[in-house]
């Protein structure tokens, strides 16, 4: 894992001291709210419906046990005993007092954490594949490059006041687990024919009110050119991105309005001018960062497979959890464990202080002291020996963390919605809870197979509804919550924006509507191997619209 050097420590400490002074001046009335608001946002402090909210950055979703314990400690002492893991791999506290914020940031700094780049029109916290450094299908670990981008973008003087926020995601495998094509810049690590490492570069993806799939602007960018090329992209955006209308200010609109060919021409022209400057990375600099993320020395544990076979046989619930929540590791004696934060009927992404402490303890003993946060609002133990799966499962069971539903219909992404968020128009979490309860039986979930439901409580799409296999968007209509359904979205390597089915559904109707869609899928799928998304891609929206609205729905 990355460890702060002296510069990092001094930089974060200085920011805490600066913010402490700003909070004191605000509470003393020396700063107005108008003056203070941009300052608090730069330090991750938002105002929600019931209280302030602090968004803590978890760069590329990687945490140590020590850091997780600190998050638990903060939840216990400064909040209400829990935190909410978000679709940006961050953590949000929903109840901290303003006067406590500097102390909380101080606590975070003591474990090399902060809340920088979690708000404002800057380059936000860089996200990455949550299986980075562990997944069997990985070309290379994306985290060193995410860390390089973090160092480069933190307080970047040229890019601190962009037209709008700017999100970068990096993945290290062909299989996109970081939804890179719905980011402002998406980077996919790959090797060229000569075996050299580089990136496929995507630009102009995003969700929100105008969802767009990113355009590939380069098929192969050598890793040494990462910062020069990224600078060129952000510079073109900073210069030409719209500042007259906040809803048209993201780079996706610039790419759309300019055209892919022309935007590539502009980026390449800018790049030509800077590609051989200081930002071109010497291999030794890349190696120095790479070293922090060196794969742990994993002991040989070949006894695991025969042990697992008998343990699976003895306990079907454990077998189901292994099948669903454990994915292949680079080392065949190990597995990557997804800890579902989606208990049946629970609140997606919430974890109590005790659960955080438990995960920290398990990670310390059984996962090389490493934890990941996924954009799907789950936690991940990246390096668990197959031989230790049973004991890890048993420990997770003690505090409701062993739900066997990763990737299934109850593994729902939901934004905080109107229960907390000042921007929301409708609630998301209660809809997720009711869907989870409706489909909660293990047999039913298993029969349905992979199906990603994603729910947002407003058009900003923090719940990623546009890329849900079934997406649900909550709106307010005539004072009531109304839920619009879209189908066929996907945030993986074959990225698509979902199609809206038609008129929305009331809060009472929405779960039945989802069930209608799922039942129709089960009727028309080619066989049990054909996923919901594959069926939708084969047959289109018509059978589902017919099921929802009747045969006349497609006549128009």
């Amino acid at each position: 894992m990355y460890r702060y050097d002296e510069f990092d420590h001094a930089f974060v400490s200085a920011r805490v001291e600066q913010f402490k002074d700003q909070v004191e001046r605000r509470l003393a009335g020396e700063l107005t709210e108008e003056q203070f608001r941009p300052l608090r946002l730069m330090n991750g402090v938002y105002l929600q419906l019931h209280a302030y909210m602090l968004r803590v950055a978890i760069p590329y979703g990687t945490l140590s046990s020590r850091q997780m314990r600190k998050l638990a400690h903060i939840a216990r002492h400064y909040d209400r005993g829990y935190g909410h893991f978000t679709t940006r791999q961050n953590l949000q506290y929903n109840w901290p007092a303003l006067a406590d914020m500097p102390k909380v940031l101080d606590e975070l700094a003591s474990v090399e954490m902060h809340a920088l780049q979690t708000s404002g029109n800057c380059i936000r916290n860089v996200t990455a594949d949550h299986f980075a450094g562990a997944a069997a299908d990985e070309v290379a670990d994306p985290r060193p490059y995410a860390e390089i981008l973090r160092q480069w973008s933190s307080m970047h003087p040229e890019f601190s006041y962009l037209p709008r926020k700017f999100k970068i995601a990096v993945t290290g495998a062909e299989r996109d687990r970081a939804a890179i094509q719905v980011h402002d810049i998406g980077l996919q690590l790959k090797k060229n024919e000569a075996g050299e490492l580089g990136f496929a570069v995507y630009v102009g993806g995003g969700q929100g009110r105008t969802p767009m799939v990113a355009k590939k602007v380069r098929d192969f960018l050598p890793v040494e050119d990462l910062l020069t090329y990224t600078t060129a992209i952000v510079r073109v955006y900073n210069l030409n991105g719209r500042r007259d209308n906040k809803y048209k200010a993201r780079i996706k609109i610039l790419v759309h309005e300019t055209g892919t060919e022309e935007i590539i021409r502009q980026i390449e022209a800018e790049w030509e001018a800077i590609r051989d400057t200081d930002l071109k990375m010497p291999q030794r600099d890349i190696d120095a960062i790479d070293e922090y993320f060196r794969a742990p020395n994993l002991a040989q544990r070949p006894e695991g497979w025969s042990k697992l076979a008998s343990e699976r046989k003895a306990d079907p619930a454990f077998a189901r959890w292994v099948d669903q929540n454990v994915t292949p590791h680079k080392n065949p004696d190990y597995g990557v464990v997804t800890i579902s934060l989606k208990p049946i009927g629970g609140i997606p992404g919430d974890a109590t202080d005790a659960q955080m402490d438990l995960v920290a303890e398990i990670a310390e003993k059984f996962s090389q002291d490493e934890i990941r946060v996924s954009h799907e609002q789950n936690l991940v133990l990246p390096h668990v020996a197959i031989a230790d799966l049973r004991i890890v499962y048993d420990l997770l069971l003690t505090d409701g963390l062993a739900t066997a539903n990763a990737g299934l219909i109850t593994d729902i992404i939901a934004c905080p919605g109107l229960d907390y968020c000042a921007l929301a128009n409708a609630r998301s979490i209660p809809v997720a809870q009711r869907i989870s309860e409706r489909f909660g039986s293990p047999e039913r979930q298993s029969d349905i197979g992979e199906l990603k439901i994603k729910i947002s409580g407003c058009i900003n799409a923090c719940g990623h509804h546009h890329v849900g296999h079934i997406g649900i968007l909550g709106v307010e209509k005539k004072g009531e919550e109304l839920y619009q359904i879209s189908l066929g979205g996907s945030g993986d390597e074959i990225c698509t924006i979902g199609d809206i089915t038609g008129r929305g559904f009331s809060s009472e109707e929405i779960v039945d509507a989802v069930e209608t869609i799922v039942d129709r899928y089960l009727e028309i799928r080619a066989d049990k191997e054909e996923s919901f998304l594959a069926t939708y891609r084969r047959l289109g929206a018509a059978p589902f619209k017919n099921a929802l609205y009747g045969e006349t729905a497609n006549a128009a």
């Binding site: 009335g29 209280a51 007092a97 307010e476």
Partner: protein, 104 residues
């Protein structure tokens, strides 16, 4: 009948508060100063501006509420949730002190 009250979040902890008939900011909507006509609404707005200047509250808004007997019922769900707390965590927010309430 729909009337209006003034609501905000307290500066120190962000807690939802309502301007009371006694001029204090109250933790609960009960006892909020009610504006029944345009002049009274203007007075609420002025009170809001003054409160921002005096550094007690932020995010001040005039909201619609319905008088239901002796209690006030915010028209928008958003305001009912602010009044009570998250509908998914009845152990949190103001509803935790008033368990009979229900926002939705």
């Amino acid at each position: 009948m729909t009337v209006k009250v003034l609501t905000a979040n307290r500066l120190t902890d962000g807690e939802a508060v309502w301007l009371g008939a006694n001029g204090e900011w109250l933790d609960h909507i009960d006892g909020a100063l009610i504006a029944r006509h345009a002049e009274a609404v203007s007075a609420l707005e002025e009170a809001g501006k003054a409160a921002i200047k005096s550094n007690l509250v932020i995010d001040v808004n005039v909201i619609d509420v319905e008088e239901r007997g002796t209690s006030l019922y915010p028209i928008r769900l958003r305001e009912r949730i602010r009044q009570l707390g998250p509908t998914i965590r009845l152990d949190l927010g103001k509803q935790a002190e008033k368990p009979s309430a229900n926002a939705a």
